[in-house]
Symmetry: C2
Subunit: 174 residues, 2 copies
DNA sequence: AATATCCTTTACAAAAAAGTAAAGTATATT
DNA sequence: AATATACTTTACTTTTTTGTAAAGGATATT
């Protein structure tokens, strides 16, 4: 279960632009600020441009800038532009082993899990904007304390899984 | 954001063993049932054995079987054995671009998001056992309706993000 | 108009992940 | 003991992802 390089770096570049207050930045400026090579930044920004998340001005005084205000860009849009969701439409065909279609395609309990995770993930991603990440602190810190509850749509069946305890944080390099 | 092949197929093999009622299965039996090549199944089961999730009997009448009862094996243990968590300890070093350490290592708002997601994921994974997947239906169907609430530990700050609506399900191949 | 700057496109190279092959070791049956 | 079965180990090949290179096209300045 991993965040891909394109997703990680692409999001970083967008965030950098979001922090730049509507001013455009050149590929080399972005490269320097993010510690990435110019050709690689070029590739990332091209993906973002084709997805409509950034605009480019060519020629002298050119550069990249966000296509929309940071408050209007959700992480959902960003992640969908940079990579596939956890459970993509191609998942079952991709992981079909030696066959053309997965032996579990008719009835797959694992897929149910991934689908649930994908939904949870997506709704969280949709709820966070680039502006939230720029302002940092308040909005974001709150997510660290999230826990899961069953929904109200099917209340009689979920007492056993409500209020799942959170595990300890990972130890990070920094 | 993706589930790796090792994670997907490894989990499938464990689930197959869980459904086999404590009886051992040979590599070729597993391969046939899962539509995977024997050498590949061999690789997967070796990873699982070294992680202590399955036991192997060698020689004639040999085979693999779960090391613990399905009720006692969580998806958390499984996923941790087969791959890295969403935010691993090596994340910041891995995605450091051209430098030795990431330029954001001191203060990274993206990391906060991944950390939160990782915690949510992990607590869900810890709450699901192989037995839950085997029995299917009730326990699992419930997850599809999950939604997120803020926790009680910091209640005054999270009204704005409580009750996030779920997006529509992905269209799958089947 | 020439030029320097900066984005665009296509193709290629390197690294990582996925998947295969083959020779080796252990065990039960004959 | 010989043999067939089945796991184990190491090395290798293929595919995918990541990252680089280079030539081309657009725009503002001089």
């Amino acid at each position: 279960m991993k965040v891909t390089a394109i997703e990680e770096y692409g999001l970083r570049c967008l965030l950098l632009l979001a922090r730049n207050g509507g001013e455009s930045m050149t590929l080399s400026e972005i490269g320097v600020k993010e510690g990435l090579s110019v050709p690689y930044v070029s590739k990332l920004l091209m993906i973002l441009r084709k997805a409509g998340l950034v605009k480019a001005d060519r020629g002298r005084n050119g550069g990249y800038l966000l296509a929309s205000a940071p408050q209007r860009v959700t992480l959902g849009e960003v992640m969908n532009s940079l990579g596939e969701p956890l459970l993509s439409s191609g998942h079952c065909k991709r992981y079909s082993g030696e066959r053309d279609s997965c032996v579990h395609s008719a009835d797959c309990s694992i897929r149910s899990v991934w689908r649930s995770f994908d939904r949870i993930f997506s709704s969280l991603l949709e709820s966070i904007t680039l502006a939230d990440l720029v302002s940092g602190g308040d909005r974001l810190g709150a997510f660290g304390d999230f826990r899961l509850n069953g929904s109200a749509s099917n209340p009689q069946q979920r007492d056993d899984v409500a209020e799942v305890p959170l595990r300890n944080a990972n130890t990070l390099a920094t």
